[in-house]
């Protein structure tokens, strides 16, 4: 494993500077929405803007205390994305006489608070390795939750929501974190076995049948989500997550080949047998057919999204000047189309680049991480953000069929915000651990660092390692 040592510099001041820039962008967007509406800038601009700024600064201070070597770019980028998302949700509210932005800012507060608690409680991401199988159990529980009668509800054709205490929540969003923890834990423990055993056929090193077990489980989970919950997006996300993590663990292309074959097989099976998948695919291929456009559950959503994007063109109509509200789900699933319409190709590209930076910083943390678990977890989590962006943008632009995935940090919805902020907290932790100065007495190799964290929290884990 190559060394990627960074000089242990906290760089929190850089973060503060970038954070102020991010807040300026977010509040600027909010302000523009206000002045372009008929009522002028609203009171909410001040209160919600200050609330967001306060949250971001508190988060920054917490990083100074508990994770001072964390990557300085991740938090500002996330705050900027969250803030632009808020401004767009507020803009759609104005057109629809709604108040989703208020809910969204509350959820942002909750999500950032939970992220802070995560930082404080975990401190060292390697602790999570102890919960490998608990994470699997929690994942299964979370995925089954919407199927419980009275708790689960069907929204927009997918049974992925639970309802309690008057709140609706999408447990699948959290499941992607617990699944990533499980995969990272399982693969970091078993990678040698998987790597060494197996027959070689031509250039492909095939894994042993029993090592295929977890892969099959992951495949079954993905297909199960698709069949039972009718959620194409999450299904793709879970499977992609697992494929990438097993590839990183083993560096074997054969896994990708097998996985892709399984995905294609599953996809064809779903297209042929499941009406909602058939409808999605037909709506994708023949979106502009008037019959399909007008059909219920037809292609109206994607076609209106395309019209919105085209209306924005290169420069965009300007915040508040377009008509993004004509697109169904303009503030959640289709928020990319709304942003594209009002900010134009240039503005939307800037947003895509923010995601690209975020994912790259996450991967950078993975590269720098001194333990296999951290590498796997950081890669998996960063990859989910990237994949989610691609599935959403590809769906909105009709590159691939449209699925019901949310745009991380921007789309209206509490569960998505919560889980993505937890992901940010975990990435910050991993980057903190990879960049902080080495503790004395430990050689600078990654594997040793994994085995011997000289901290009380790591004890149990190192015991387990020794036993094996």
């Amino acid at each position: 494993m190559s060394e990627l040592e960074t000089a242990p510099v906290p760089r929190r001041n850089m973060e503060l500077l970038l954070l102020l820039l991010a807040l300026a962008v977010a509040m600027g967007a909010y302000y523009l929405v206000g002045i372009n509406s008929d009522d002028g800038p609203s009171q909410e601009f001040i209160t919600q803007g200050l609330f967001l700024a306060g949250l971001a600064l508190v988060f920054h201070v917490i990083l100074r205390i508990w994770a001072k070597y964390a990557d300085p770019v991740i938090l500002p980028v996330t705050v900027a994305l969250n803030g632009i998302g808020l401004a767009m949700i507020h803009r759609i509210d104005l057109a629809r006489n709604d108040d989703q932005a208020f809910r969204q800012i509350l959820w942002t507060g909750v999500a950032m608070a939970v992220a802070c608690v995560t930082l404080w409680a975990i401190r060292d991401h390697r602790v999570l390795r102890r919960f490998t199988y608990i994470a699997l159990a929690v994942s299964v529980l979370l995925l089954l939750l919407p199927l419980i009668p009275k708790v689960g509800v069907v929204l927009n054709g997918a049974r992925i929501w639970v309802h309690f205490f008057g709140l609706s929540f999408q447990p699948g969003e959290l499941a992607k974190i617990t699944l990533a923890i499980f995969f990272a834990g399982y693969l970091s423990s078993n990678r040698e076995l998987i790597l060494l055993a197996g027959r070689k056929i031509g250039p492909l090193q095939l894994p042993r049948a029993r090592d295929l077990g977890p892969m099959v489980v992951a495949w079954l989970v993905s297909i199960g989500v698709l069949v039972v919950q009718r959620d194409l997006g999450s299904s793709i996300l879970f499977f992609g997550l697992f494929m990438v993590m097993i590839y990183v663990a083993t560096a074997r292309v054969s896994w990708i080949v097998i996985g892709t074959l399984m995905l294609v097989g599953g996809g064809i099976f779903a297209y042929l047998t499941m009406s909602h998948v058939t409808r999605r695919i037909d709506g994708w291929l023949n979106a502009f057919d008037p019959d399909i456009y007008h059909a219920s559950g037809g292609s109206r959503q994607i076609v209106e999204g395309l019209f919105g994007l085209a209306n924005g063109g290169l420069m965009g109509t300007g915040l508040g000047n377009g008509s993004p509200y004509m697109v169904p789900l303009a503030n959640s699933d289709m928020i990319v189309a709304s942003l594209g319409e009002e900010l134009g190709l240039i503005g939307l590209s800037a947003i895509v680049l923010l995601y690209l930076i975020l994912v790259s910083r996450g991967m950078r943390a993975a590269l720098g991480s001194r333990d296999t678990f951290g590498k796997l977890l950081a890669t998996g989590l960063s990859f989910t953000i990237g994949l989610q962006c691609f599935v959403v943008i590809g769906g909105v632009t009709r590159l691939i069929p449209l699925t019901g995935l949310t745009t991380p940090f921007m789309a209206a919805g509490g569960s998505s915000l919560l889980s993505n902020w937890i992901i940010v907290a975990l990435l910050l932790l991993i980057s903190h651990n990879s960049r902080r100065p080495m503790l004395s007495g430990v050689s600078a190799t990654a594997e040793v660092a994994t085995k011997a964290p000289r901290r009380s929290r790591g004890l149990l884990e190192s015991l387990k390692e020794t036993k094996r």
């Binding site: 590839y247 502009f288 019209f307 994007l309 008509s323 004509m326 134009g344 939307l348 590209s349 590809g394």
Partner: protein, 482 residues
């Protein structure tokens, strides 16, 4: 392992590149196609938030955009909607737009070529593009008069035009409808109102009967027969023709009779002038056999049959079927069988004869006026076609004086006014005795100021003839203040 992470990073970057590529394609390369897509209502939505120009008659708006509190910033409002519905058409979110609202859309929204520099200035000054107003050639009083002459419940159309300029002074039809009902913003309300209107017998809110309804022209078609006969040089007003009560169509056993009960029954022989006055049918079968189909195809084409015409709304081309056999030609030259004409076409026949054989392009738009009252464009009289020579036109004018003086159109006589006109009645096959009743003519015959065409569709003969010649008289009296 780090290499695998780097590879994963490259894969994610590829996904981002694909995303950016797809966005560039949609927002840049394909954006124009998407904006023009038929399913795309955004252009319309934008228009509804901009001040749209007015449609003016005598300087007063008959259609204008008024600030609105509802879904959009402006609401299209029509004044005297029934009077002008078939001219203005409607401007609706859910039902589309029709007639002038559709044809003059570029001018009304400020997007026309003439307004290019205004748009450039607005781009820099940040002002919204305001649409230009469209002033019509219509004479408001005359429009009201002719509209009221059409009884409710009939399918009638009246056109009054200026033969020397082509300007249309009045164009009204019934049944009419309230354009405001279709211009409402609520799409469910607009759809319900549209459904209600489609139930009205003989009404289509998408069609202006004067330029869209094709009807058998009956004996008004004989204007073209006169032109063909006189141009051939074989006939003059004084040529004596055989006028049997019935002839057998060439090559068949089908009889063709003079109109029952008319004055034609009693005269076995008459001059060309007399048979035009009385509108006898049988002599024209003889003329068609004599001349063959060529001259008739030629004359009708010169008068506008089968030609594209926009006033600026598109006029449905009238039909004179080609390659007729002698029997079919015999029926066609009296405006029956498959010959079909719009009221506009038969008005153009009168305009051509009145204007020494030259048909001026019929036109509804007088000028386009910018929001700052500059005249952006003004329509100038334009020739549509040279239908015949001045000599023939003069002779036909003389022949058309006959029906008014002592023939089928005596009820159109206006004391002291020299009127030329030709009546027509086409029997609707299987129509239980219903006919289409026509008159088309002009006055004064020696210096024509107006050409008038009146048609009532699917009406009984007696009512029809009482609504054509007498109404022509009323219109001419109004125009010439008598």
């Amino acid at each position: 392992m780090n290499q695998a992470i780097r590879n994963t990073w490259i894969a994610v970057m590829l996904l981002f590149v694909l995303s950016l590529g797809a966005l560039s394609y949609v927002q840049f390369l394909a954006s124009e196609d998407l904006n023009d897509n038929a399913l795309n209502k955004r252009q319309l939505f934008r228009e509804f938030d901009l001040p749209r120009g007015a449609i003016l008659v005598d300087g007063k708006p008959i259609a204008e955009s008024k600030p609105s509190e509802g879904q959009f910033k402006y609401q299209r409002v029509y004044t005297d909607p029934e009077l002008y519905s078939h001219l203005t058409g409607f401007y609706s979110l859910s039902n589309g737009s029709t007639q002038l609202e559709s044809e003059m859309n570029e001018e009304l929204t400020g997007q026309s070529q003439d307004q290019f520099f205004d748009r450039v200035i607005n781009l820099f000054s940040g002002k919204a593009n305001e649409g230009a107003s469209v002033e019509l050639t219509i004479d408001g009083e005359l429009q009201k008069l002719v509209y009221d002459l059409i009884p409710d419940g009939t399918l009638g159309t009246i056109i009054v035009s200026e033969p020397k300029t082509g300007n249309i002074l009045a164009m009204a039809s019934k049944p009419s409808y309230d354009t405001n009902k279709l211009a409402v913003h609520s799409s469910s309300q607009a759809a319900a109102n549209m459904k209600e209107l489609l139930k009205v017998n003989g009404l289509s809110p998408y069609r202006n009967p004067a330029i869209g309804n094709l009807t058998a022209p009956g004996s008004t078609f004989k204007i073209f027969d006169m032109v063909a006969a006189l141009e051939s040089g074989k006939y003059t007003a004084d040529t004596v023709l055989k006028n049997p009560p019935s002839v057998t169509l060439p090559g068949t056993k089908t009889p063709l009779k003079n109109f029952y009960g008319g004055n034609c029954a009693a005269i076995p022989e008459a001059t060309f002038a007399d048979i035009v006055s009385q509108s006898c049918n049988t002599p024209f079968v003889g003329i068609s056999e004599d001349l063959g189909r060529g001259p008739f195809e030629d004359v009708t084409e010169r008068f506008g049959f089968g030609q594209q015409l926009e006033i600026p709304m598109r006029v449905v081309p009238s039909v004179f079927p080609p390659d007729l056999d002698p029997a079919a030609l015999g029926q066609s030259v009296i405006g029956e069988r498959d010959v079909r004409a719009t009221a506009m076409q038969m008005n153009m026949a009168a305009m051509g004869i009145a204007n020494d054989g030259v048909i001026m392009q019929p036109n509804l738009v007088k000028q386009v006026i910018a929001p700052d009252l500059r005249v952006l464009s003004e329509s100038k009289p334009k020739e549509f076609s040279t239908a015949t020579s001045k000599e023939v036109a003069d002779q036909v004018t003389d022949l058309m004086r006959g029906p008014v003086k002592n023939g089928t159109a005596v009820r159109a006589q206006v004391p002291g006014l020299d009127v030329a006109a030709k009546t027509g009645t086409s029997v609707i096959p299987g129509g239980q005795g219903l006919v289409n009743s026509w008159i088309t003519g002009f006055a004064p015959a020696d210096d024509p100021q107006v050409a008038v065409t009146i048609v009532f569709e699917k009406i009984d003969f007696k009512t029809g003839s009482s609504l054509t010649s007498p109404n022509l008289k009323k219109i001419l009296e109004a125009v010439f203040n008598q």
